[in-house]
Symmetry: C2
Subunit: 355 residues, 2 copies
């Protein structure tokens, strides 16, 4: 505490990211990173830019990266907004689009950064309870609001809804922005990006992506949003009133090469999806109840063993998963899908713990 | 314009950074980058981290980088705040420390991002005119305020004041934060960082630095602030409510190595200072009037030739400098100090233009 803080600072409860422990010999299944490395082409592109030109500012607009993203997704570059990880993108989205006279609506169980942004920017919000099976029911959002945001698949549950459900929501919700946070979309969820193509692009749909998960570049810090050019222009105004150069030269170079290497994404995502299916089966035989997942993590509980206890017992064995001390979900563990080998270690440890 | 923007977005007038032109064969003296490359040790450190580990999130706290900065400056790591370039650091400073019931005070002629932050965050501000010779007179800040910020040396003028003047200001100004933006400090300006050492560290002094200028890493995006631990804690709360991971793994690795290579900074800064003296002399023989500079740029005008015209004539010859269409300074050019060779090209072009 300091009397020199701005008044808002005293009200903030910052987001707590999953830890990055310094322990050796760790099975790290807590922050939904890819167990496979990034595209070798991304590493090569970064290396080719690691030179004296780092003395120069990067392109503040990130034009080449916008072009690459637009090309991949069949959009125009003016439909793309870039940021220093999707967290920064989301921050600008809250400040630039979701701060309205009515409250923004998001699920009661979701990415815990959303209410943190609201506090920072002085945005009113209303949480919409997920269904009894932790499913998102879009009908629950058919109400006056200053904006809607939810992840698809949702986090930390892993559950997703089909694009057609979001189309229904858009048809009903025409007076505020609908933000679909697709951080984990590449593991079996239908993306909403096709809705943005061509002249029928809705004026009020924004889709947020990150390169930290399926592109395996969490260490590089690149995220983006795609949507109607007018929404993007609003975000650019906020960004250019905050930081002209959020993406350095290496981040831009690496991201372009990663975006262009769709084959790498598909190969690694396919492996993750396979490991996920196998893990869910194995957990079932141990008595775990796992929510259906189209993400690179699962959300699971054991009817006879407390989540906090399993979390700690795994940790004692060098296996780090995530546990949230929040209402409705305190019995659950969120487990990142690692390699088959890591899954094997996890299952072996759980057998020991439950024995 | 879009009806989906937050109300504040319509009021924003974003900062316009110096352009990064794509022209070939350019003498680029417009954005105060170092004409020399970064420390080779920084490039080596980046290369050593360009590997599969980029799939992992970086340390959200940047502990090793904070340690390196603290060591260099004789501070504790809890006195260091990190950001994605000093622009992001400044943004958090405005939001977290300078948003108060009284207006923040800064010079009428200064870094043009300051009023942009104020608009974004809804901060009232008052500009304090520089003296007739564009000098900063700290006595002009002896008035009730919600915070004070100015660069030292000032930008775009290049003029600096001694640390003792800032000590006088601190003695008078005990009820609000004083932020000294030392982006260009390494070219002959007295830093205020020594005031922060030990138990006499003022509660209300914050000093902001960047690695984009003297460390020649504008392309990497790293900046920091140092001050009393309580001020830093306030900034951390804002940062952790905005983006947990502003600095990627490569940025952290490169910045640590650059901070540790003080010899490289000193060698390159010395060259820039020499070139600056020589350039000021040569411009004098052409009739230019140049403000005294302790920065890696100069601010100069010609009594008989309009600034806008010289700017355009230089541009036509592939030499890019910066010209601001602002009251009091529209006859001036801000010229980055390049290599001796670039200076030679500049002077030759000016001779041609004035002939």
């Amino acid at each position: 505490m300091s009397r020199f803080w701005s008044p808002v600072v005293q009200t903030l409860t910052p987001y707590v990211p999953g830890e990055q422990p310094q322990m050796q010999r760790l099975v790290k299944l807590n922050t939904n990173e890819s167990p496979y490395g990034p595209s070798p082409k991304a590493l090569a592109a970064i290396s080719s830019q690691t030179n004296e030109d780092l003395r120069l500012y990067p392109d503040p607009e990130g034009a080449a990266l916008k072009q690459a993203i637009a090309k991949l997704h069949g959009l125009n570059p003016n439909q793309v907004f870039l940021g220093n990880g999707s967290d920064e993108v989301l921050a600008h989205v809250f400040a630039g689009l979701l701060k309205q006279s009515k409250p923004v609506h998001f699920p009661d169980i979701t990415y815990s950064f959303y209410p943190v942004y609201c506090k920072l920017f002085g945005i009113e919000y209303k949480t919409v309870p997920l269904g009894t099976e932790f499913e998102t029911n879009t009908i629950d959002y058919f109400a006056p609001n200053g904006g809607i945001i939810f992840p698809n698949p949702n986090a930390p549950t892993g559950r997703s809804i089909p694009r057609s459900e979001i189309e229904k929501l858009l048809a009903k919700n025409t007076d505020s922005v609908v933000v679909i946070d697709e951080a984990y979309v590449d593991y079996g969820t239908e993306s909403c990006i096709p809705l943005l193509r061509g002249s029928n692009c809705p004026e009020n749909l924004l889709v947020v992506h990150t390169l930290s998960k399926s592109r395996a570049l969490a260490g590089l810090r690149v995220g983006f949003a795609v949507g109607h050019p007018a929404l993007i222009e609003g975000l650019e105004r906020v960004k250019n009133s905050f930081n002209s150069y959020p993406l350095g030269r290496l981040a831009q170079a690496g991201a372009i090469a990663a975006i262009e290497d769709q084959a790498h994404l598909e190969a690694t995502s396919t492996k993750v999806i396979k490991t996920r299916s196998k893990l869910i089966e194995e957990l079932k035989t141990l008595g775990f109840e796992t929510l259906p997942s189209t993400a690179n993590f699962i959300f699971t509980r054991h009817p006879k063993h407390a989540g906090a206890k399993i979390y700690q017992a795994l940790r004692d064995r060098g296996i780090i998963v995530r546990h949230f001390k929040s209402p409705r979900i305190e019995e659950f563990l969120r487990i990142t899908i690692g390699t088959d080998e890591q899954s094997g270690e996890l299952v072996a440890a759980l057998k020991e713990i439950l024995a």
